[in-house]
Amino acid sequence: MKIIEILTNIDRRIIYLILLIVVVLPLIFPSVEKVRVMPPVEKLYYAIDTIPPEKAVIVDFDYEPQTAPELDPMGFAILRHVFKRRIKLLVLSLYVQPLGLAQNALTQVIEEFNSAAKTNADSIIYGRDYVFLGWVPPPIIPILGMGESITGVYTVDYYGNQTDTLPLMEEITNYNDVGLLVSLSGSDIPKYWIAYAQSRFGLPVGAGITAVSASEFYPYLQTGQFSGMLVGMKGGAEYEEMVERTLKIKSRRKASEALLSLTYAHIVMILFIVIGNIGYFAKRRKK
């Protein structure tokens, strides 16, 4: 039968075209996909939310442009959360490449807040509310060194200012003044923070990771070494959901918008697999 032939031999270009349409259309006409927030994401949210006012949160941006679509939304959502709650923030990176991405995230989120601010007190001011520490080589030395003194490791910040002259750094000395560190990474970096900062100094650590590497990090969540974990696009969407629901921050939810593309792409793949199998069984029966 001709239909069986068609089912088993769909031109791959048709598959690519259909996939392109279902992936791109939700991005052109974005709509936010509501998600149920899972416990690992909730844990991280409340770990940040319950940081005492005298302590800071450190966000470690350690991903490259290839994984930015998955991890950028997490970074944005966490920054919005931190700035809304007026939690002291330190931002750093253990490698050079992600610095641009960290800078980009800070600039965009701060612009959102400052454009709506009416007074100086409402604004996000560099040096008072947050410090961008930048990068110091190699990766392990700053992790260990910050246990004793953060300004000792990062003597100048990303912009070249002496860190010990910044008002925020007068209150934050070392990990004892840090309530949580969140590591956003497409590789093994969160494990370094556990191995060196948590085991030596008791620093609580949370993670934002890509979906592909999730299975190797779940053991750390199970043992409680991670105070929470965001996994892939869905994890980012869940955090955006929490931020919007609890803090009433209305902003662009990139992960939630992209989730629709992801959903449709998966459905399309499942459909094609089913179609292929229908054709296969029909052919087999015919024989």
Partner: protein
């Protein structure tokens, strides 16, 4: 001698590579560090020159003989020369002897990296989504019981990671997670054990001269 000398070299350097794992003494560790960080880097630098020489030779030859698609060889050679000159003489942050700024327009090596290399790499990476779809359509057939089980697990995991999965059944995401955490990890561990032992055996065979295919040609 032509085949004996490389075998002796491999044996000596193979043993020199194993010893530092068991001997922490600084004399041994420093020698190992020298071999890995300095000696090897020098080798790589020379090999890179050879490799680049080969690449240029192939494409220059293609242009000379006007072989099929010889025009693209020009694009390669021009791109190669531009990147090399800017990288070598322009410095990393525009700090070299070659000026890499005209007004507000920068063309240093970072500009090339961020505006050319990264987008092209991301584009190739994005192809994976399409290729996964076509590969899945072509290959995922329930030909046998095992294949059917595999298909079912794939559907569960693909739906479980989506909000849709949660709507289908609140247990689906947890079941998907269990598949990733238990059977998947168990299978991976089995393969990893075999790979680790196979790698050890292959290394031993090469060091002891039992495996000689890497020398090329037949056994003497």
């Amino acid at each position: 001698m032509k085949r004996t000398f490389p075998l002796i070299l491999v044996f000596v350097f193979g043993i020199l590579g194993i010893i530092p794992f068991f001997v922490p003494h600084p004399v041994v560790q420093n020698a190992d560090e020298f071999l890995r960080n300095e000696f090897l880097r020098i080798l790589v630098a020379f090999a890179l020159v050879l490799g680049l020489g080969s690449l240029l030779k192939v494409h220059i030859d293609k242009i000379k003989r006007k072989r099929e698609n010889w025009q693209y060889s020009w694009i390669l050679i021009i791109s190669f020369l531009i990147s090399a000159i800017i990288g070598l003489f322009g410095g990393v942050g525009g700090t070299g002897i070659l000026p890499t700024t005209i007004g507000s327009f920068q063309f240093d090596i970072w500009t090339i990296y961020w505006n050319v290399v990264m987008p092209l790499g991301s584009t190739m990476f994005a192809l994976l989504a399409f290729f996964m779809a076509s590969a899945a359509y072509r290959a995922f057939r329930a030909r046998s019981t095992e294949a059917t089980l595999l298909l079912a697990a794939a559907f569960v995991v693909m739906l479980g990671v989506l909000p849709l999965g949660d709507r289908i059944s609140p247990h689906l995401p947890s079941f998907a997670q269990w598949i990733m955490d238990v059977p998947n990890v168990a299978g991976q561990r089995g393969i990893l054990f075999g790979v680790a032992l196979g790698a050890l055996a292959t290394a031993l065979k090469i060091i002891l001269g039992i495996e000689r295919s890497w020398l090329g040609g037949g056994r003497e």
